[in-house]
Symmetry: C2
Subunit: 343 residues, 2 copies
Amino acid sequence: MREAKEVTIYDIAKKLNISPATVSRGLAGHPGISKKTKKKIIDTVEEMGYRSNHFARNLRQKQTHTIGVMVHELNSNFITSVLAGIEKVTTEAGYDLIIAHSSESAKKEAANARNLFQKRVDGLIASLSFDTTDLDHFQPFLNKDVPVVFFDRVEQDGNRTVVVIDNAKCGYMATEHLLSQECKRIAHVTSSLNRNVYAQRYKGYRDALYDKGLPFDEKLLLVGDLSEQAGIDAANQIMKMKPRPDGIFCTNDFVAAVCMRTLKEKGIRIPEDIAVVGFNNDAIGHLIEPTLTTINYPGIDMGEIAARNLINHLKGISNLQQTNTVIVRSELIIRNSSVRKKK
Amino acid sequence: MREAKEVTIYDIAKKLNISPATVSRGLAGHPGISKKTKKKIIDTVEEMGYRSNHFARNLRQKQTHTIGVMVHELNSNFITSVLAGIEKVTTEAGYDLIIAHSSESAKKEAANARNLFQKRVDGLIASLSFDTTDLDHFQPFLNKDVPVVFFDRVEQDGNRTVVVIDNAKCGYMATEHLLSQECKRIAHVTSSLNRNVYAQRYKGYRDALYDKGLPFDEKLLLVGDLSEQAGIDAANQIMKMKPRPDGIFCTNDFVAAVCMRTLKEKGIRIPEDIAVVGFNNDAIGHLIEPTLTTINYPGIDMGEIAARNLINHLKGISNLQQTNTVIVRSELIIRNSSVRKKK
DNA sequence: ATGAAAGCGCTAACAG
DNA sequence: CTGTTAGCGCTTTCAT
């Protein structure tokens, strides 16, 4: 059953007594190839088990029809829906995808960037890792005019094409909701404020407090690394605070869930003693008890938009420089972890 | 800052007044290139910003140094640890990775297979999608002697290289544990028994009952698609059963969590009324209440083993035909959802 | 230790 | 509508 060696367009040309160029054109769907020859070609291709050689093709065309995607992690609802959105658009447009993930490490992110650059992707879609501080590793792409679109975790220098949600607004909504539930002292559990998403959510949190005339207390800001331990630590710190906070706004659902568990172990009632709001609308949100109020935003749309922008640019339909920032809708989903007020 | 065009080995050869062949050899670390020339080459490469052209190289060598990974889904702890294991080994061995996921669709799996075949991966590591029934789409790889290693979800025809856990044993352990907690009527919530993993777990479940002298009741077998709805349905069916089961063995943690939530909403106490055991040791397991007893198995090891096998084969060190089946260790983790017996 | 030359498989320009 | 030709950038004999 083993096939001896690779079939090339020369083989099929020879068999058909036509030139390789014609075969190539037939396969590429060029205009100006008779229906008959085209059919013959397709048939013979099938018959001989020909598969086109990407490398020869890319070598010739200097295009890979591949776009690279760099994400910080794979195991979240959000990221997988973004990927689904990207896939949908790129597949339709005839592009392949290479997915690389950095495990939240700037070093690995840089390595991935190098790798994708080597692989000569036609374009790049990226969300930054947790501890990425500079964008030097993207410079090679820009130097070669390989378009790059960032989503979610982006640099805030306003100089690149980005697809994001309005994190400040979301932070505001979350906090405002807690305030509406008569929380007076709201802690904010988050991560490095160097990352745009966390900085913006924090800003929204502070703005909401400010608008309500409440003072901001620095002690209520708990910065960690979003690990399980970070959630436990945050909960423990909250327990020690005097007076104890009566609301928590967590920057993701996992950490919110860990906090809630830890607090409950210590006898805190949620939402009566402390109301909790998370972020991301991950699956855990409605498996834990009480179910978690959170911010939802459509990963799939973000993916589609990012991909569409990139591809339009590649096809010369649009220019990335023009559409600098796309903001995707987002919403507050109210569940039991935060509702204390009788209707 | 834009570089005009790609630097090739010809450019660096010209600059150094040597031949392109020498440059190629210098870069490849060939023996029989003087240290001096080699250094000159490396320096110039650096200076001129040369990057090697994968396509030309692959075209010439007919090797891609890339291995393909096909998984059914990305958003689970298990899969991401497998990927981490694979990555570790392949990176060390100088191979690149292309990750494709089928979203549990056989159709998409076949499309991915075609794509990876087109891309001419040197080898393949795969876990089957939920509804894959035949392995025809892997045939092209075998025809071309591209080695394939399967892990976790595999075909049980004993004719390929597979890396798995002993699912029957795990099913046995889980059920035996429930029995030891004085469960008398244990439901099994699982998925299509055509998939090896579920069939084996089911077998373990039945064997444990048998060994304890308990009859098997067909009504206690609940087959669904592992969606949230499937979990809810299973719980509802269990509520309706008379007599009601006092134990549930679920084939994954997510479904177990959904079941537990649904049962609790109906006033069932866990583990007092019904004890629950899951499978996979996902993160939710210790966020829900009560914490979930489950089966743990090391994805990272499975990934490493699968990758190592493949690479050894590629390097001619070993032959895949020889080591047909690798079984990785697994263990029962006892948490609160199942413990009813006083010590 | 290095060079010359051929060729991997494809596509695009040019010609007819 | 189709053929001829050249060349993408690299590696690899075969020489020297």
